[in-house]
């Protein structure tokens, strides 16, 4: 799918919690406060996956959440990017090898950018978004 040039400057973000401890959520909310103001790059949190361009996934993906995460991902309109926020999504973190996990996230969804940290600081999340933009630009150049 062709990525439009305006995509970079207007990323709408949908946040999905797949069993996170709420630490990453608080940091995501901190990222959209006036102090960091990601709206100046056109970024915005939206309430519906249908409107979103970026899926922020937090948490280690519990067995119950795995089908829901897939469903949310499938509902998003193409082109789309998946970002994994926090250590849980990468390895399971403190929930590593737990009996009720289907994760980490890359076992469930195709992840584009990982942001490590428990929880990651807002700066780290913004850096992750920049990485996502770089990846998009690279894909654009390859087209």
């Amino acid at each position: 799918m062709k990525i439009p040039r305006s995509f970079n400057r207007s990323l709408w973000v949908f946040h999905l919690n797949t069993g996170s401890c709420n630490g990453c959520e608080i940091e995501i909310v901190a990222t959209i406060t006036p102090r960091y103001d990601p709206e100046r790059f056109g970024m915005r949190l939206v309430g519906s996956p249908k409107h979103a361009d970026v899926l922020l996934v937090t948490g280690p993906v519990t067995k119950k959440m795995a089908p829901r995460a897939r469903r949310v991902y499938e509902q998003m309109a193409n082109p789309k990017v998946v970002m994994c926020i926090g250590t849980c999504g990468q390895s399971g973190g403190v929930f590593y090898d737990s009996y009720n996990l289907d994760g980490p996230i890359d076992q469930v969804l195709p992840v584009d950018v990982y942001v490590p940290g428990c929880p990651p600081r807002p700066e780290a999340i913004i850096y992750g978004v920049v990485k996502a933009l770089e990846k998009l630009e690279r894909l654009e150049a390859e087209q």
Partner: protein
């Protein structure tokens, strides 16, 4: 004089372009001003244009339980009807393109059509969130209609009482600025009516504090929850055009002034100055009734919306109407 068909078509295209561009500009202006009020830097003023370009490039998803023809028709209908309102409103001192065929009553009814299209789209998308949003939109529509009607009737009544023929047509409102016709008591009444109309505006545009139908935090976007890509872009364009239409209505009713006539310019330069003056006026109206209000308030519950409009604003509007009437009677004596 009946304008010929090519003139109407060219004029309609120009007005549609004007509405869309100025509407998106107003949305960008609103976002940047709101950001500055919250001590943020805010997006560039071209942000809505970027958003629309992106949305048009994105995939258009039609949900499985939606009624596809209605789901796809609703955004087109909403945008088209929003543009039709603009054709009846005077823009920058020009006579409206369809001035022969309609008056304020028609504009009042046309204002409900984009909202009705939104409701149809919400019900057609087959999502419980959208259904709840559509029901709330209908309730909001019923709520704000009454104060809006009071304002329009008060102005038309005043014009009729002042002995002006055809008080409901926008041409006669344009020709006789309402402030010149009233005494001190009537001025107070008109100020109250202006405030009422400014409070009706955010509900018409479903902005905070009256954005209960969309309610991002509880209904996840409400009516628009299932819309994506091209259809969502058409709805955002509708939002912009509706902002222009509503602000133009406020300007047409209360500030039908022309700067060019005041400083004695005519011809092309006068027309340009008038358009710029008009854009400045609608930006001011949008700033007061959308940006300032939405930054300083939280969202009303749907039952609070109804009581705000039916009780408080209706009483305020009737008081304004009575003051205008009392002013007329005192003036006659």
């Amino acid at each position: 004089m009946t304008p010929d068909i090519p003139f109407i078509i060219i004029g309609a295209v120009l007005v549609a372009l004007f509405g869309i561009v100025i509407g998106l500009f107003l949305m960008g202006f609103d976002r940047i001003v709101a950001a500055r009020m919250q001590a943020r830097i805010g997006p560039p003023i071209t942000q809505p244009f970027t958003d629309i370009r992106k949305l048009f490039a994105k995939e258009n998803v039609v949900p499985e339980n939606a009624i596809p023809w209605m789901f796809n028709l609703a955004p087109v209908l909403a945008l088209a009807s929003a543009i039709v309102i603009l054709l009846y409103l005077p823009i920058g001192g020009f006579t409206p393109i369809l001035s022969e065929g309609g008056d304020l009553i028609l504009v009042m009814y046309l204002l409900t059509v984009p909202a009705l299209a939104l409701v149809a789209g919400g019900f057609a998308s087959g999502s419980p969130y959208a259904t709840v949003g559509a029901q709330r939109e209908m309730v909001t529509m019923i709520a704000y209609e009454f104060p809006l009607a009071i304002v329009i009737i008060a102005i038309a009544w005043k014009l009729a009482a002042a002995g002006i023929a055809l008080p409901f047509t926008l041409a006669s409102i344009q020709a006789n600025p309402i402030w010149g016709l009233v005494g001190p008591l009537g001025t107070i009444g008109l100020l109250i009516l202006l405030v009422v109309l400014l409070i009706v505006t955010p509900a018409e545009l479903s902005r905070i504090p009256f954005d209960t139908p969309e309610a991002e935090t509880e209904l996840a976007g409400g009516i628009l929850v299932e819309y994506s890509g091209k259809n969502l872009a058409l709805f955002s364009l509708t939002q912009g055009v509706k902002t222009v239409a509503m602000a133009s209505l406020v300007v047409a009713l209360f500030f039908p002034y022309s700067l060019a006539a005041f400083i004695g310019l005519a011809g092309i330069s006068g027309a340009v100055i008038d358009i710029l003056f008009f854009i400045a006026l609608i930006t001011l109206v949008a700033f007061v009734s959308v940006s300032v209000v939405r930054v300083s308030m939280a969202r009303f519950r749907i039952n609070q919306v109804v009581s705000v409009y039916w009780v408080y604003l209706a009483i305020a509007g009737l008081t304004g109407l009575l003051l205008v009437m009392a002013d007329q009677i005192i003036g006659v004596i």
